[in-house]
Structure formats: C-alpha cells, structure tokens
Assembly symmetry: C2
Homo-oligomer: 259 residues x 2
C-alpha cells in the first residue's frame, strides 16, 4: 500500500488575513503524515507593485507578467510570503522548506507561447521533478511551494498556484496515495451560492454533469472543478474543496470529489 | 579522510553587477566537489526601500533593521536575489536550492539583545543545523543561503552574510574538510592599499601579527580577518580571500589564510 501524502493549496485571501493565516498554519502543522503546501500571493503583490509605481497590466481580465511585475512576484511570493510562512511553520515544529520551482529544479515550466496575447513571464508546467520532491520528503522536510517556476534556462516564471498544486499532486501520485486540498473562501461547492451551508458533500462525474446541466456550477468554479477532475483522471486519489476549517480532522462540511 | 566542502561567500557588489554575477556563477558552477553559496543583498535592498518610502535607519554607521526594513530584506535577499541566483545556477546544471536559515531550520539565531542600541530584527547565529545541511548535500543539492536566519519562534532575522558563511563553515568542519572563500572587490589582503597587485599570498598568525603591528591591516579588513582566524581556530581547514577570479582553478593571485 502506498504511503499517504496531502497536498494543500491556500489562496491569497488566507495569506492576506493574519488571523486566518495563523489559524491555517495551526491546522496545517497539526495534520498527520507527509504533506506539501502550495501558496499564492494574493493582493500583496499588487499592493507592493502599486507602491513601487509598477502598473499591473490586465488583458481580457488576465494579468500580464512583464519584467517588472515578475520582480515584484519574486520578491513577494518567493521572499516575503514564503519565508514568513516557513518561519511560522518552524515555530510550530513543522520542518518546512520554502521552494520555488527553480529550487532543486522541482518544477520546470515553459514560457507561455505568444499568440494573440503575450502573457509575458507566465509559465505553463512541463515537468514536476518527483524524485527531487521525494528526496526532500524522505529527508524529513515539508515543502512549501510559492507560485513561481523556472524554465531551466535561467528564467523564473509566474505560474498559477492551483495548477502547481494539481501538477505536484499528479506527479507524486506515482509513488503516494495523494489527497489534494483546495482551501478557498467558501465552505465547498455550493448548490445555492447565497447559502453557505448548501455544500455538496460528495461530487463524482455523474452528479457533476447533472450540476453542470442545471447551470448550478458556473463562473470561477468551473475551471477550478475541471482542474480537480483532471487531477483525478491522472491518478490523484481524492480532491477536497473547502475553507480552512476542512483541515480539522473533525470537519464534515466540505466537498470531496472522487471518480 | 574527510570529503572536501567549499563554502563561498559573495558580496553585494557582485550581485549588483549583472556581468560580474554571471562570471561568478560560471566559476561557481564549474567548481568541483560539494559546495555551498552564501550571498548578501547589497544596495538593492536600500534602493527598493527608498522606492517604497522606507527610510534606512543608521546608528553609529550600523544599519537598524526595523519591521519595514525586515520586510524589504526578506523580499530582496530571500526572494529576488536568491531565486534569480538559483534559477541561473540551475541553467548551469548546478542543482541549487535557495535557503534562508528558516528553511529546514538550517540556521537558528537569537534577536540581538537591546543594549544602548536597539538593532531591531538583527540576528546573532546560535546554531547551524549541520544535519539538515548534510541531508541536502547528500541528496545532491547545492545550498544557496541568503543573509536571513530565524529564531525558531516565527521571527525572521537579518544576519551578516560573512558571519553566516563562517558559522556554516565551522559547523560543517565536523564532517568535512572545509575551505571558506570570501569573494570581495579586492584581489586579497593588500600590503599597499593603492596597489592591487601587492597581494599577500599566504597569511598565518605570526605574519598577521607583524602586519597588525605595522598597521598595514586596518579598517574594514580587520573584522574580516578576525572572522577568518576565528573560523580557522574552530577547525575550518583554510580561508581564501580575493575577487571572483580566485575561484578559477588556475588562479594564483589571492590570499590564503591558514593557522
């Protein structure tokens, strides 16, 4: 039987709220077994960029990572957010080690090709170096990934944290029984967006199709769930979606997704 | 016989000059055997702090690390400088892994006690976790340390890069035959400060005392050399001081210090 491995992704909204962050780090530190944390950076990068007089470019609602924005992202995600989270986890006796995809060549990406839109220094994951991550886990470290990868040619690349989490989970599923947790601001997939308690406890492909047909799942939730099913089809054992309360072993109100 | 391990410290002046940095990284990547890089951040942190409107406080010529300055240092040293250097080393097939002292709890420090001066978030190294560094080396990684430590209670601390280099070298000397390299802007210890070629090739305690008596060694060089002899007395095998040319295996013009 394969050993269990949890991959937990937290969003920017948790990082920005100090109280929420500490609550999350307490739960993460208390989780048993092998685990990997993946974090975004949230609005902090935009705030610092604003202060530095760097304008955030958006095309069709998507952020463009120009050279100056990449510097800010490297400072905020790779430096400020990552190192503080690592220090906080060390204080909780979790032997965290902060990583970008460049560190130990753990995640190699390719700069997104320019089509109608030039996304700049945005990276699409090409390869997760499971051997390197495995070495760190076996040495007793808990990897904490920020949303930065590299192209193995000296370039750092801004990469979607949800994607990093699912790609790491997919890669590690070769050797581990993986569970992928997406922590966000809602309690899970909701049947009624206005009712926080209308959480779908269990989602599988048939029910998902039914919810899609009824247009209950739409907007931001759609790519998130597509990403979850993609991970499951690539051998990730289970995906859980909910707020940070879901990491409590007694928690019941969150969405579990399986095939 | 113990395995060889090189610990190389580069100063801010190398990091700031892109051409010099690439030359250094070429030499570092070409160095054979196990190695560890330690880097400062240089004036970049001050530049970013200026842009963010954070005033750098100096008391008696020494920088005070207040909470805002610590954030900038964490962004610039731990993020921007460290991650870019790691990505550049990966492009040179050196399996670099970027670290602060918080990562893997590699370097624990204590916040400098407040006496007449409150240095703020400045850290004095208390313990180098040689076991953790050894695990990374054995797993095939090349550690790249920025000048940040932590107190194991959640606080990051700004720490002198020269000290980090010597303390890591001292710690690792238990298990390795260590050489500590200090790369700076001069070719080595100079007999005549106006003549770049008046390099002392070999320094040992007696000759050092003679140079001290003749007032040939003074100012900034004094604490640097005291630090070197401290490392040698704590079992570091050899200390070399020079510019980045010293890392070339054919180099001869630099200072080697032994007991």
């Amino acid at each position: 039987m394969k050993e269990k491995l949890s991959i937990i992704k937290i969003g920017g909204n948790v990082i920005e709220d100090e109280k929420e962050l500490h609550k999350f780090l307490d739960s993460f530190a208390a989780m048993e077994g092998l685990k990997i944390l993946v974090h975004g950076g949230g609005k902090l990068a935009t705030q610092i960029a604003d202060k530095l007089g760097i304008e955030s470019q958006l095309i069709g609602g998507r952020r463009i990572t120009d050279a100056e924005s990449l510097k800010v992202i490297t400072m905020v995600y790779g430096g400020l957010a990552n190192k503080n989270m690592v220090a906080q986890l060390q204080a909780r006796n979790t032997n965290a080690i902060g990583l970008s995809g460049a560190d130990g060549n753990t995640i190699r990406a390719v700069k997104r090709p320019v089509t109608e839109i030039d996304y700049g220094f945005a990276g699409d994951v090409e390869e997760v170096n499971t051997l390197a991550i495995d070495k760190l886990l076996n040495a007793g470290f808990t990897p904490v990934f920020c949303a930065i990868t590299h192209n193995k040619e000296g370039l750092l690349l801004n990469t979607n944290a949800d994607t990093i989490a699912s790609e790491v989970a997919i890669g590690m599923s070769m050797d581990y029984d993986t569970t992928l947790y997406y922590c966000f601001e809602k309690k899970g997939v909701l049947l009624d967006i206005t009712n926080e308690d209308s959480v779908v406890r269990h989602l599988e492909p048939l029910y998902y199709q039914e919810l899609l047909n009824k247009k209950i799942i739409a907007d931001g939730m759609l790519p998130k769930l597509e990403n979850c099913f993609h991970a499951l089809h690539k051998n990730v054992g289970k995906v859980c979606i909910g707020d940070i309360g879901m990491l409590d072993p007694r928690a019941t109100l969150y969405t579990t997704i399986t095939l």
